[in-house]
């Protein structure tokens, strides 16, 4: 709740910075956790759990993009490259070095972060459109060249990168079906969101926001902008790496086609629809994109007998619908769904005297 009810006063900074300040918010969050950890996996069918996994993957991937674009102002159109690096490093370290899954996920996140810093280096010198170009180059160089031509041929041509079932386990907990993946996803999403939200209310986060608002002014105020920009790239790469390492367990075989440029653009679209500069926005955007496209599938199903074309070419329809959704959102709701959510909340906060 953005406004506190009457009669709640803060006496020190610690209280002022608390996340959940009222009983109502506590109740809401406890209900949310209960729903996500207990009720949903127990009562939802396997289909909806699969959909939830895709939403979770989108959230994990989009967190890094939100950090770069929404909080640090560095527009990136190549985030799928860092997710791909995370996925490949994780798979390689499991397959070749037989490391446990958690260790390889940490290594993957770290290497993806370093890879992201490498392509973030030009951000010290250029910004805006030119930075977009370098991140695009990162995408093409990493995925279309290095991964496609070299990395995916490790172990010989035609050998797919696939982890044998049962390899992905944390201690005794074997992750091999959708429900287990769901639990892993929920834990990772919770941890990453906590990490990002905490970073943003620290010195680092304030520096990022200063850079976003005006980098020259930030530099004049003593923020080391090169350091903080590269740090933003590193953290975003780490989130990407975690997302990639997570997605390994949902893929039968790893291939560069899962990390094409369109996935990078998709992620930027997700945060735009959700709302730039808002962690809520990542969740709203991911849910909107995944659920609306699922709904589109259901909407088309009754038309299928009369127009078989629609179902056969559903993939392309989905692409066009996504493009149109981005355009319409930017034209008619440029602040995203998070802003609408905020407005609705405030309306009910002040109801019935909203003036």
């Amino acid at each position: 709740m953005s406004w506190l009810p009457c009669g709640v006063y803060h006496e020190n900074y610690k209280q002022d910075h608390r996340w959940w300040q009222t009983k109502f918010v506590w109740g809401k969050m406890i209900f949310l956790f209960l729903f996500v950890y207990v009720l949903f996996p127990r009562f939802a069918g396997l289909y909806w759990i699969g959909v939830a996994n895709i939403i979770g993957y989108t959230v994990l991937s989009a967190l890094g993009v939100q950090l770069l674009i929404g909080y640090c102002g560095q527009i990136t159109l190549g985030h799928a490259a860092f997710i791909a690096v995370g996925a490949y490093v994780c798979a390689l370290s499991i397959l070749m070095f037989h490391l446990p899954y958690v260790v390889s996920m940490i290594i993957a996140a770290f290497i993806a972060g370093l890879w992201s810093v490498l392509f973030g280096l030009p951000s010290a010198k250029v910004k805006g459109f030119y930075l977009i170009m370098t991140t695009m180059a990162a995408q093409f160089i990493t995925v279309d060249f290095i991964l496609t031509q070299y990395v995916s041929r490790i172990g010989g041509r035609g050998v797919a990168f696939s982890l044998p079932p049962g390899t992905i386990k944390i201690g005794p907990w074997v992750i091999d079906n959708d429900v287990e993946i769901y639990y892993l996803m929920v834990i990772l999403v919770t941890l990453c969101t906590l990490a990002l939200a905490n970073l943003l209310r620290s010195r680092v986060g304030r520096a990022w926001i200063a850079i976003r608002d005006n980098d020259i002014a930030a530099e004049a105020l003593g923020v080391n902008i090169v350091k903080y920009k590269l740090l933003a790239f590193f953290v975003a790469g780490v989130f990407g790496g975690v997302a990639g390492a997570f997605w390994v367990c949902n893929l039968a075989a790893l291939s560069p086609e899962h990390f094409m440029w369109s996935w990078s653009l998709w992620l930027v679209g997700v945060i735009l629809i959700g709302g730039v500069g808002s962690i809520h926005g990542v969740f709203f955007g991911s849910m909107f994109m995944v659920l609306v496209l699922e709904a589109l599938k259901f909407a088309i199903a009754p038309l299928a007998p009369t127009f078989p074309q629609l179902q056969m070419k559903f993939l392309f329809l989905k692409e066009a619908a996504f493009g149109l959704a981005i355009c319409l959102f930017l034209l008619y709701e440029p602040n995203g769904m998070a802003y609408r959510w905020w407005q609705i909340k405030n309306y009910f906060n002040l109801w019935p005297f909203s003036y």
Binding site: F140, Q149, A320, G323, L331
Partner: protein, 294 residues
């Protein structure tokens, strides 16, 4: 040496097509400040429209003219429906609208024409290559070069000598002054998009003639981005020179670097060059250096 000359000549010829598409891109940027990432899809649309006309039995030249007319209509529509409301919005918004448009256009192209490679049948240009001394050139390349040069000259003289072209120049130079002198900015933006659609359509058709037409032609259309970055974003001569240089670099790296880095070095080289250019020459060859104040 022969390999070098052949590669160079082919590179210049392919580069002239890139130059044509880059000209359209640069025009939109100069006139309305929109950084257009949908250029690849504009080439796709033009190429597929032309292919449909041609395969229905319309003569090639006529098909090309029809494509240009449809390009003008689509350009006006796109500008009117999507871009006009975005004047003065932040850069990310504008870029993402063009990204949204690129998804939209690509989805529609794939929905209508499918993803299989299509060819112009019967071939538009004779298949027999032309031999000049040691150099062997496919006729497709030669005629594409000629067509691209004709169009480039036509566009450039349009800007220089016609009233509309002059109003576009005025608008690109100083929008406020142009508006106060009675130039209609809306018309100029619409013209810029129409010309971009036309140029991209012709470029896409020519590229589709070389290797057959499929979705990857849209990727070739993306090569205008390295070209305009090399030339400097707001310079029309820069776009033309940049396009040709990128074509040459691409072909040379395909011929010489491929033995060291087997695989797709040809597709990736322009982007790698672009990163290097950005590190050392961030405003390209003739771009305006922007001075920022807080």
């Amino acid at each position: 040496m022969e390999l070098f000359i052949t590669t160079l000549v082919t590179g210049v010829m392919v580069g002239s097509i890139y130059a044509l598409v880059a000209l359209g891109w640069c025009l939109i940027y100069k006139c309305s400040g929109v950084l257009n990432l949908a250029m690849g899809e504009l080439t796709l649309i033009g190429a597929y429209v032309c292919l449909s006309f041609y395969n229905w039995g319309v003569p090639f030249i006529l098909a090309l003219i029809f494509t240009m007319i449809i390009g003008i209509i689509l350009g006006f529509l796109t500008e009117r429906i999507f871009l006009r409301k975005l004047i003065g919005e932040p850069i990310l918004t504008v870029i993402m609208v063009t990204v949204g448009l690129s998804f939209f256009f690509r989805g529609i192209v794939e929905f209508i024409w499918g993803t299989d490679t299509r060819v112009f049948s019967p071939p538009v240009f004779p298949l027999k290559p032309i031999v000049v001394g040691p150099v062997v050139i496919g006729q497709v390349y030669l005629w594409s070069f000629v067509a691209a040069i004709i169009l480039l000259v036509a566009f450039v003289s349009f800007f220089k000598y016609t009233r509309w072209g002059l109003s576009m120049q005025a608008c690109a130079d100083d929008e406020m002054a142009a508006l106060s002198l009675g130039v209609s900015a809306k018309f100029v933006y619409a013209m810029a998009w129409a010309i971009a659609f036309m140029a991209a359509g012709v470029g896409g058709t020519l590229l589709g003639n070389i290797n057959g037409l499929n979705i990857s032609v849209g990727y070739l259309g993306l090569l205008v981005l390295p070209a305009v970055v090399l030339g400097g974003l707001n310079s029309v001569p820069g776009a033309i020179v940049g396009g040709i240089i990128i074509g040459v670099l691409q072909n040379l790296s395909g011929a010489y670097l491929d033995q060291y880095f087997p695989g797709g070095v040809k597709e990736i080289a322009p982007f790698a060059f672009m990163v290097i250019i950005l590190l050392f020459l961030p405003y390209g060859l003739w771009g305006w250096e922007r001075i920022e104040r807080v």
